[in-house]
């Protein structure tokens, strides 16, 4: 039943078999591309006594080295990058460890190349002058070489779909732009929910783990850089830094829109949280996609644990359990763990709040409570429009009202400190401060905020 969801599964029938399968399972799960595995231990295996004199052992665990890009292909990527006038690095699920973050910074700075981060993981500092995520379409349109690093959706990086009724696909890159992919996903594609996205016709595909390939790619780039190119790179870097500053400023201006609105804007909510945590050792353990990416646009993300990344597959209901799991991982490090929790997502597994309270897992949960899922609405409106039904009923099945859900009471019932719903932005800061005091005491806390849709 679960075979489609895991990388490998087994049902060992003996204790020795279980021992070997467990070691194998760990190796398979932690070799890029990392994925879940499943072992089934039936009740006989669990409950039967171990026979006297049974010769059982746990085999030696030798970790498999991650797949690294072929040296010839890596040299070719380096040649393309060094020769390019406008190279672009597009990242998604690159940095598995702190070394991935450091490697990506070194590569970008060596080339003075912009990084567009799809934020599947915490890959690149948000305030680095080479982070050009916020002006991605401009960078892509201007690129002559684009290197996707563990990029889940390369196709939509270089193509755009316009129009809803009769969609038209157009390329977003210049003719002749070289496309390079480095991803371990080329080694293993299996999915029952199509998260591998559309097929991308790239010029060079390297089936390898991007983080493990970064050191050899950086070395190859450095070997090929001439003094002339260094000057070119420096000039490019200065222009990119100015464009980054401009993009950040534009982001702040956009955040100011609806600043005092009620329901509270997601930009205001994100800024109020940042004001309270920026001097702490913090960790954001929720996807920012549904709050218009405001934390990624306004906060200073620069450590590998600052952001959990995205779940992949667009699954609803993942957010709350993932946040509690990440908070548990952060607990021993004493980090202030924060989750911006979507209201619809919490409806799938609200019991995880009790788990957090029961096990005393410190976690600040700030509800993005827009009282809706707000997901497929446009499509429903399109169809209603096409069939001349009127569009006022399009929200049926998409909103969470009548009755509105009181997440504060829900959390209190599970044993959490909770406040809200808060609809006046002026009330946010004191409520967040009170909740942080609880979290610093070792317990979870929830602040319910009535928000704009996105």
């Amino acid at each position: 039943m679960i075979r489609d969801y895991v990388k490998w599964d087994d049902r060992p029938v003996s204790l020795q078999g279980f021992s070997e399968s467990a070691v194998r399972a760990y190796k398979i799960a932690t070799t890029p591309p990392m994925m879940p595995v499943a072992l089934v231990a039936d009740h006989e295996l669990q409950e039967y006594a171990v026979a006297d004199g049974a010769n059982l052992s746990v085999p030696k665990l030798t970790m498999t080295s991650p797949p690294v890009g072929d040296s010839g292909a890596v040299a070719e990527v380096a040649r393309l990058l060094v020769a390019a006038e406008n190279p672009v690095l597009v990242t998604d699920r690159v940095a598995r460890t702190p070394a991935g973050l450091a490697g990506l910074i070194e590569l970008a700075e060596t080339l003075q190349a912009p990084v567009l981060d799809r934020n599947g993981r915490m890959n690149f500092p948000t305030r680095h002058p080479l982070n050009h995520t916020e002006r991605g379409s401009a960078a892509i349109a201007n690129a002559d070489v684009i290197v996707g690093l563990e990029l889940t959706d390369f196709w939509s990086t270089v193509n755009a779909v316009q129009g809803q009724v009769n969609p038209v696909v157009r390329s977003t890159v210049k003719p002749g732009t070289k496309l390079v992919s480095i991803t371990a996903n080329d080694l293993y594609i299996k999915s029952n929910y199509q998260d591998f996205q559309r097929y991308a016709a790239v010029d060079l595909a390297i089936a390898a783990d991007a983080e493990a390939t970064l050191p050899s790619l950086i070395d190859a780039v450095k070997r090929q850089i001439t003094d002339d190119r260094k000057h070119t790179f420096a000039d490019r870097g200065a222009k990119l830094a100015a464009a980054h500053t401009q993009a950040m400023k534009a982001g702040r201006e956009a955040a100011a829109s609806g600043w005092d609105a009620s329901p509270i804007s997601t930009a205001r909510m994100s800024s109020e949280i940042w004001a309270q945590i920026k001097d702490e050792d913090w960790s954001l353990v929720s996807n920012c996609q549904f709050v218009s990416r405001w934390p990624l646009r306004l906060w200073d993300f620069n450590k590998h644990y600052h952001y959990i990344g995205a779940e992949g597959g667009y699954g609803v209901g993942y957010g709350a359990p993932a946040a509690v799991g990440a908070a548990l991982a952060n607990r021993k490090h004493g980090r202030l763990t924060v989750s911006i929790q979507n209201d619809g997502d919490l409806m799938f597994a609200p019991g995880v709040l009790w788990t957090a309270a029961h096990h005393r897992i410190p976690l600040l949960i700030v509800m993005h409570n827009n009282r809706a899922y707000h997901q497929e609405l446009m499509q429903v409106q399109i169809m209603a429009d096409r069939h001349n039904r009127g569009i006022t009923n399009a929200s049926i099945g998409s909103v969470l009202v009548d009755p509105a859900i009181d997440y504060s009471k829900l959390a209190q019932g599970m044993g959490l400190h909770a406040e809200g719903p808060i609809s006046d932005p002026k009330d946010l800061a004191p409520a967040i401060r009170r909740a942080i005091a609880v979290v610093k005491g070792g317990d979870p806390a929830l602040v319910d905020v009535l928000t704009q849709p996105r």
Binding site: S137, N142, Q164, S257, A261, Q289, M378, D385, I391, P453
Partner: protein, 211 residues
């Protein structure tokens, strides 16, 4: 991670991606004079704008109608340099400010006559009700402040005529709204409501946005 895409609304002034051929002859005139219009017509073609917006700026499946221009000239130049939608950026090396000024004059000269709906007067109170009832807020925010799903439209930066054209035939991810579901009068009401909203304060005046 599935891409949601950003609805570019009326700012999606896709000028095409033919940047390699974007160097147009230097233009002299920035007003609507004959030479400016002629230069603008030439620059509109050589810069590749026609690929998405059509030869007369009438719009295609890839780009919205931009004749008449939906933005004032300074705003249009800013947008062309750093677009926020799916349009590629065009630097001054690809199309100069002077050329954009001439293109602007050309687009004004070829604009079709205004439709009857463009002269309607709106009712802001009814517009506010419709803005919520018709679900506009779901992408643009309850006060039209904008989000990742749709740009800020409160207050709108463009004319009612441009809004009217775009809503009927949008080019981004926004659904088209026909007169069957939203009449011209209702759009005029919504526009009047959005016009009544205050513009945002500068970010520099908000301490929390400077931390």
């Amino acid at each position: 991670m599935r891409s949601l895409g950003v609805v570019a609304l009326v700012f999606a002034l896709t000028l095409g991606s033919q940047r390699a051929t974007a160097q147009a002859p230097a233009a002299k005139s920035g007003d609507a004079g004959t030479s400016g219009v002629a230069n603008g017509k030439r620059a509109f073609a050589t810069a590749g704008c026609v690929a998405c917006h059509g030869r007369q700026g009438e719009g295609t499946a890839s780009g919205i109608q931009i004749a008449p221009p939906p933005l004032e000239l300074p705003a249009l130049i800013n947008y062309v340099r750093e677009p926020t939608g799916k349009m590629p950026p065009f630097g001054s090396g690809a199309v100069s400010d002077q050329q954009l000024s001439d293109i602007y004059a050309f687009l004004k000269s070829v604009a079709p006559p205004p439709s009857a709906g463009e002269s309607l007067t709106g009712n802001g109170d009814n517009g506010k009700k419709l803005f919520l009832a018709y679900g506009c807020f779901e992408c643009h925010g309850r006060q039209g402040a904008g989000a990742s799903t749709g740009p800020r439209i409160g207050p709108p930066a463009i004319s009612f005529a441009a809004v009217l054209r775009y809503v009927r035939a949008p080019s981004g991810q926004m659904p088209p709204y026909t007169t069957k579901v939203v009449s011209d009068q209702e759009l005029a009401d919504i526009y009047t409501y959005l016009k009544s909203l205050p513009p945002p304060s500068p970010a520099a005046d908000i301490p929390l946005l400077n931390q």
